[in-house]
Symmetry: C2
Subunit: 219 residues, 2 copies
DNA sequence: ATATTTTTTTAGTCTTACCTAAAAATTTAT
DNA sequence: ATAAATTTTTAGGTAAGACTAAAAAAATAT
């Protein structure tokens, strides 16, 4: 069955919100990410349920069916492959590609994605370190952990980010915190959980707990 | 002012229909290309006129204003650049790219098109030999002439096509009539104006007048 | 010059995806 | 356990872009 642009965006949002929890996703949570009103979300959830892409019961939140999940994963696959293209082939920075990929992810063509995948040499991570779902809808786990979970004196390598807003990524870039950066935790401030770290053996810098939470590293 | 997908497609169609004639474009002609009904076209023409992109007077047909033409040319530019990408970088054949480019042409990002143009090394023709409008909205003339206008015994090179439907392009490919093919006109049949031609010095073949009309060559 | 045919427009609906305001259900606080 | 606050749903509307049927204008034929 054909999916409209709006439907695809809803399925993608529901997928994202389902990643953390086993429970149903709330109407309000969807509304916030969709930048729309709760009433509109209720409308759409009913339509998605009729089409068999979500399980929806009034007041009980929503969860994806296998077919809904398959659609969501295919959108995410397209989004992430296009991001690789934009960065690797067109020379964009990692903070510039999200919005363009939001448009490109809705282009409909099986063969296009196959050829793009091949052209990019079958990448398995996007420029933010996120895994790219396979053609048959399997996505590797996020195997990296937030920098905020490490202890003092530990070394690690920056492998990804948990948030891809432009302002956040621009901050990281300014701090020389790019993919592959070597990080040493010098000290964790117990008062506000901010960290003093060393990036690629340069002079120490401070990052807030909020920032550290969104930096994914391999110990 | 922002343009919707539907508006962009109408402007593109009106541009195409204006290329041949100085007069206004008829409602029915637009309806046919837009694969919609005349009543829907009338609706849309009124909206486009309000936005200042076309001059429209009841029963008098429609023509593009400079701003409407600028939008149309930017869509055509995007369409043709994406076609070059699909053929040159992803390995598509020239008969497979039209529909995908119809989707890609609506992606909105100035920087994307600039970077794509650069990545493709600033092509000035698409895979069908059509000129690609420049960034500032100038399009080179179609400098090639239909094969059907040449005389017997003349030699020429295939530089483009005047029609990019998949069936037509597949026929050409089967006859080895690709971009750059060397053609010699052996004989023109005065009864039905069909031609006997030689392609790249192979054994002679016949092509109809209809086919010859849509093959563009450099003498 | 008038009648017929064709083209175009108007009028009234439909669907999608959104909205606001009000009602109902659920959750939280006392 | 009940009251208050919050969340969610329903009801009723709007705009874009399509549709059909009927009316009006223009073009063609007699």
């Amino acid at each position: 069955m054909a999916t409209s642009l709006a439907e695809e965006n809803y399925l993608k949002i529901i997928y994202r919100l389902s990643e953390n929890t086993e429970l149903g996703v709330s109407t309000n949570a969807v509304a916030e990410l969709a930048q729309t009103k709760a009433a509109s979300v209720t409308d759409m959830l009913q339509k998605l349920a009729e089409k068999g892409w979500v399980i929806y019961q009034k007041y009980q939140g929503v969860r994806l069916t296998p077919s809904g999940q398959k659609i969501a994963l295919s959108i995410i696959r397209k989004h992430r492959l296009w991001e690789v293209f934009l960065v690797e082939k067109l020379g964009y920075n990692w903070d510039e590609v999200h919005e363009i990929a939001e448009q490109l992810e809705h282009i409909e063509s099986e063969s296009l994605i196959q050829k793009l995948d091949e052209f990019l040499d079958f990448p398995d991570r996007d420029p933010h370190g996120d895994p790219i779902p396979t053609r048959d809808g399997k996505m590797a786990d996020q195997i990296y952990q937030p920098l905020s979970e490490l202890k003092e004196k530990m070394d690690c390598v920056l492998m990804g980010v948990a948030k891809d807003s432009a302002v956040f990524l621009q901050l990281l870039t300014k701090l020389d915190l790019n993919l592959g950066a070597k990080i040493t935790i010098l000290e964790i401030n117990s008062f506000d959980r901010s960290l003093q770290i060393q990036v690629n053996s340069a002079s120490p810098i401070f990052v807030s707990h909020e920032v550290a939470k969104n930096i994914l590293v391999k110990a």
